[in-house]
C-alpha cells in the first residue's frame, strides 16, 4: 500500500539532488588542470620506482635529477638541433655524484641514463606518457579520456643524429606556471623583474629572469615549427594572412622584448655599479647576483636576435618558391590535389574511417612485387646459412695503394752526414768558410754546395728554437768583411763557429717565464 505523500516527495528530491557537473566551462578548467597535473606524474613516478631498481638507489633524488635534465635540455636546444644525449648525461653527472659521493662513477652514470630514458619513456612505442581523466560533456554524460603527452622528445638532427628537445608540456612543468599564455606570462615576468630590481630584491629578480628565459625558449620553439612548415611547401601555409600575421607578430614580439630586455640590462648594470660603490658583504652578494642576471638577460637577447634573423629569412625563401611554383607555364589539365583532396580531409577523420582511405591508397600505390617461388633445396640452404654478422666497425677500409715517390732531394743522407761532420767545430776554434769549402771539395764535388748552404743558414742562427728546445750547441756564421775567394762561390768569407749555450740557465729562465 502506497501513501500519496511519498509520490509528492519525489519531485523536490530530484530538484535538490546535486548537479553532476558545474557546467562545461568549469569542467574544462578542471580538465586543463588535470592534464597539467599529469605532466608531473612521470617525475613522481621516478622516485616511486627507484626502489625497484637492482641496487640501493634510494639515496638519489630522482625527481631532482629529472628536473635538472629538463632544465639542461631546455637551455641547450636551439633552432636547428636539440640537445645532445651524451652531453646531457655528462652534465647531469656532477649533480648525481653530489647526491652520493661515495658511490662509483659508473653508478652515477647509470642513474643519469635511467632518469633520461624514463623521461623519454623508451619502453613505450609512442615514447610518451598517457594519463586518463574524466569529464562531463555538455549533455552531462561522463566520459573517460586519454591524455597523451611527452616530456622529452627525440628529434632527427643533421647527419642522422638524434637530439633531445623538451616539449611545451615539459617547459610548463619546469616553469611551474601550468596553464598560462606565453606572451602575457613573459611580460608579467619582466614587469616583476623591473619592480624587483628597483627594490633591490635581486634574489627574486634572478628567479624571474630565469623564468623569462624559459618563456623565450618556448616562444622560439613555437615559431620554429611554423617556419619549418613554410620552408617545405608554399601551398601548405597560408601566406596571404596567417604567416605574415605570424611573422609580424613575432617581429613585434622580438622588437618589444629587445627594447625591454635592453632596458632591463641597463637597469641591472646600473644596480650593479651602484652596488659597487659601497663595499660590505651584502652589497658584494648583490653585485654577484646582478652580474649573473646580466648574463641571463644577455642570453635572452641572443635568442631573440637569432629568432629575428630566421624571421627575416622567411620572405626570400617564399619568393624563390613562388617563382618556381606560380610562374611556370600552366598545364592543360589539372591533376588530383593530393594534399588538399586526400591528406587534409583524411587526417581529421576517426581512425577507423581514415584507415579505409589509406588502405585504398596503399593497395594501389605501392606497385607490384614479384612473388618468390620457393624450392625446398634453396630453403634448406637459406635456413642453414649462418646469419651475417652486423658490422660494428663500418665498411672495410680499402688497402691504400702506396706509390714510392722518387727521391728528388739534391743531396743524399751521406752527404748531409759528412757536411755536418765537417761543420762540427770545436767551440773555441772557428774556421773560415773558404777552408771548409776546400776541404769539402776534396771529399765530394757536390759537398761544397751543401756546406755553403748550411753556412749561410748559420749566418742567421735559429736562436729562439735552440732556446726553447734547450740545446747546448749552436752553429753560427759571422761576416767580418773578408771577401770569399772561391772558383764556385762568391760573397763574404764567413767565419763559421760553434757557440756553447747555457742550457741549464735557459731552462731556469723558461720555467720562470711560464
Amino acid at each position: 500500500m502506497t501513501s500519496p505523500a511519498s509520490t509528492d516527495l519525489v519531485p523536490p528530491q530530484l530538484s535538490a539532488a546535486p548537479r553532476p557537473a558545474q557546467g562545461p566551462a568549469a569542467d574544462e578548467g578542471l580538465a586543463r588542470r588535470l592534464r597539467a597535473l599529469a605532466c608531473t606524474a612521470p617525475l613522481h613516478d621516478l622516485d616511486a620506482r627507484k626502489a625497484n631498481l637492482a641496487g640501493e638507489y634510494t639515496v638519489y633524488a630522482m625527481a631532482e635529477v629529472a628536473l635538472a635534465a629538463i632544465d639542461l635540455i631546455t637551455l641547450n636546444m636551439d633552432f636547428d638541433t636539440g640537445a645532445d644525449h651524451e652531453q646531457i648525461v655528462a652534465r647531469l653527472l656532477p649533480r648525481v655524484a653530489a647526491q652520493a659521493p661515495s658511490r662509483p662513477a659508473a653508478e652515477h652514470e647509470r642513474v643519469a641514463r635511467w632518469v633520461l630514458e624514463n623521461l623519454i619513456n623508451v619502453g613505450s612505442v609512442d615514447r610518451g606518457f598517457r594519463a586518463v581523466y574524466g569529464t562531463f560533456g555538455a549533455d552531462g554524460v561522463y566520459t573517460r579520456r586519454d591524455y597523451d603527452f611527452k616530456l622529452i622528445e627525440e628529434v632527427p638532427g643533421y647527419g642522422g643524429g638524434v637530439y633531445l628537445r623538451t616539449t611545451d608540456e615539459a617547459v610548463n612543468v619546469l616553469v611551474g606556471a601550468l596553464d598560462t599564455d606565453v606572451t602575457s606570462a613573459q611580460i608579467a615576468a619582466e614587469v616583476k623583474l623591473e619592480v624587483l630590481i628597483n627594490r633591490g630584491r635581486l634574489a627574486d629578480a634572478q628567479l624571474a629572469a630565469e623564468q623569462a628565459r624559459y618563456r623565450t625558449v618556448q616562444y622560439a620553439e613555437t615559431l620554429r615549427k611554423t617556419l619549418e612548415a613554410t620552408r617545405r611547401n608554399v601551398r601548405a601555409v597560408d601566406w596571404l594572412n596567417a604567416v605574415p600575421d605570424m611573422i609580424a607578430e613575432a617581429l613585434d614580439h622580438v622588437a618589444d622584448r629587445y627594447r625591454h630586455e635592453n632596458a632591463i640590462l641597463t637597469n641591472i648594470r646600473k644596480a650593479r655599479d651602484e652596488a659597487e660603490s659601497t663595499s660590505d658583504a651584502k652589497t658584494a652578494e648583490h653585485k654577484r647576483r646582478a652580474a649573473e642576471l646580466v648574463d641571463i638577460v644577455k642570453d635572452c637577447i641572443r635568442r631573440h636576435t637569432q629568432l629575428q634573423s630566421r624571421l627575416l629569412d622567411a620572405g626570400p625563401l617564399f619568393r624563390a618558391e613562388q617563382d618556381r611554383q606560380a610562374f611556370a607555364a600552366p598545364t592543360a589539365y589539372t591533376g588530383l590535389d593530393l594534399y588538399g583532396q586526400l591528406v587534409a580531409p583524411t587526417l581529421p577523420l576517426p581512425v577507423e574511417q581514415a584507415v579505409r582511405v589509406t588502405d585504398a591508397f596503399f593497395a594501389r600505390g605501392t606497385g607490384l612485387r614479384t612473388p618468390a617461388s620457393v624450392r625446398l633445396g634453396d630453403l634448406v640452404d637459406l635456413l642453414l646459412t649462418p646469419p651475417v654478422e652486423r658490422e660494428h666497425l663500418g665498411a672495410e677500409m680499402p688497402e691504400p695503394d702506396l706509390i714510392a715517390t722518387p727521391d728528388d732531394s739534391r743531396f743524399s743522407e751521406e752527404q748531409l752526414a759528412s757536411a755536418l761532420r765537417l761543420l762540427d767545430l770545436e767551440h773555441d776554434a772557428p774556421r773560415r768558410l773558404s777552408g771548409l769549402l776546400a776541404e769539402a771539395r776534396e771529399l765530394d764535388g757536390d759537398l761544397p754546395y751543401l756546406v755553403a748552404l748550411l753556412a749561410v743558414h748559420a749566418a742567421s742562427p735559429p736562436v729562439g728554437t735552440a732556446y726553447r728546445q734547450g740545446e747546448e750547441r749552436l752553429l753560427f756564421a759571422v761576416d767580418d768583411g773578408t771577401p770569399l775567394d772561391d772558383p764556385e762561390f762568391g760573397g763574404a768569407d764567413l767565419i763559421v763557429g760553434t757557440a756553447l749555450l747555457d742550457a741549464v740557465g735557459m731552462a731556469a729562465d723558461r720555467s720562470e717565464a711560464s
Binding site: A31, I120, V125, R127, G128, V132, R144, R145, D146, D148, E154, P156, G160, V162, K225, E228, R232, N233, A236, W239, L240, P244, D245, A248, L251, L311, A314, A328, T331, A332, G335, L336, D337, L338, G340, Q341, L342, V343, A344, P345, L347, L349, P350, V351, E352, V355, R356, V357, T358, D359, A360, F361, A363, R364, G365, T366, G367, L368, T370, P371
Partner: protein
Amino acid sequence: MSETHAEYADAWGEQEPPQPPAASTSGAPASAVTPADASDAARLVSFGLQPKLLPARDAEYGELLRRYRENPAFARLADAVATGLGLVVLEVSPRAGMAVTAGEDSVFAVRMGDYARRASTDSADRFLHGLAHLAVAAMAFPRPEDLADDAYIGRLTVNGVDAFVRQACLRLEQRAEEQGENTDPASDAPGLEAAWRIYARRSATGATKDARRLAGSTTGIVGKAAAFLTDSGFLQRTGDEGGGSYRTTARYQLQVRDMAGSAAMAELLELGVVPVSDGSATLLPPPEGDDLELAADAGLPFHASPPA
C-alpha cells in the same frame, strides 16, 4: 574531381581495348599470331615486371617497346598477356617502359600484412603505414599541376615528409584548440580517435642500440615507405641528407595519378566527406579572405588573388 576521374577512365579505355580488336586480328591475314610473337609479348611483360629496369639501358627491352608502339597487333597481344597475369597496363612509352601494376587480388599485389607485421594486428600502425605512402605522394607532387605535368620530377626527404605531416597535425590540433574541442579520445572507443592524433603522438625518431632508425617511429615508417617505393622503381635515392632524399620516376607519377589517387578518392567519397572540388588547389587562402594589410617586414612580393 569526378570529371578528371572520368577523363582518366577514358584514356584507360583507349589504352586497353583487347576484346574487339582481337576479333579483327584474326580477320587480317598479314598479322597471324605465332608462338614467337606470344613469347616476345610475354617477354615485354616480364620486363615490365622489373620496375627498376630502364628501357634505355637494355637494347632488347627498347626494341620490344618500339614494336609495341609500332605494331598494334603485338600491342594487343602484350596487353592480353598482362591482363591474363592480373596486371594493369598504365603506359607503354620509352620514358616509363612497360609500366604495369598489380590489379586487385593479383598475385603481384602487395599486402599490408606482408609489408609490415604489426600493421595486420594494430590499426594505428596500419593507418600510419598507409598514411606514410599517401604523404610521400603528396610531398612528391605538392600541386595538382605537378601530378598532371609529365615532365615534373618530385623531390622529397624522409624527414621532410614527416615534418610536413606533423605540421598538418599541429594545425588540426590548433584548430581543435581554438574551437575548444576536447580531442582526447574516449578510452573505450579508440577507433573514434582522430587520425591526426595517432600520428602526432607517435614519436618522430628514437635512439636505438645499433644506430638504425627506430622502426616504430614516424621517420622509421616514412623511411620504410620510401625504401619500399624505391624497390618498386617509383623513387630513386639521391642522397642521405634529411634522413634520405629521393626523386620520383615517371612510373610513380602514373601510379599515383591513375591508380592510387583515384582509389583513395573513391573511398573518401564513399565516406561522404569530400566536398566536390573543381580541381583548383584547396590549400589556397579562402576567397573571402579580405585584403588584409600585409606586414611590411614579411617581404611578400604580391597579393595573391584568389581564383575566380
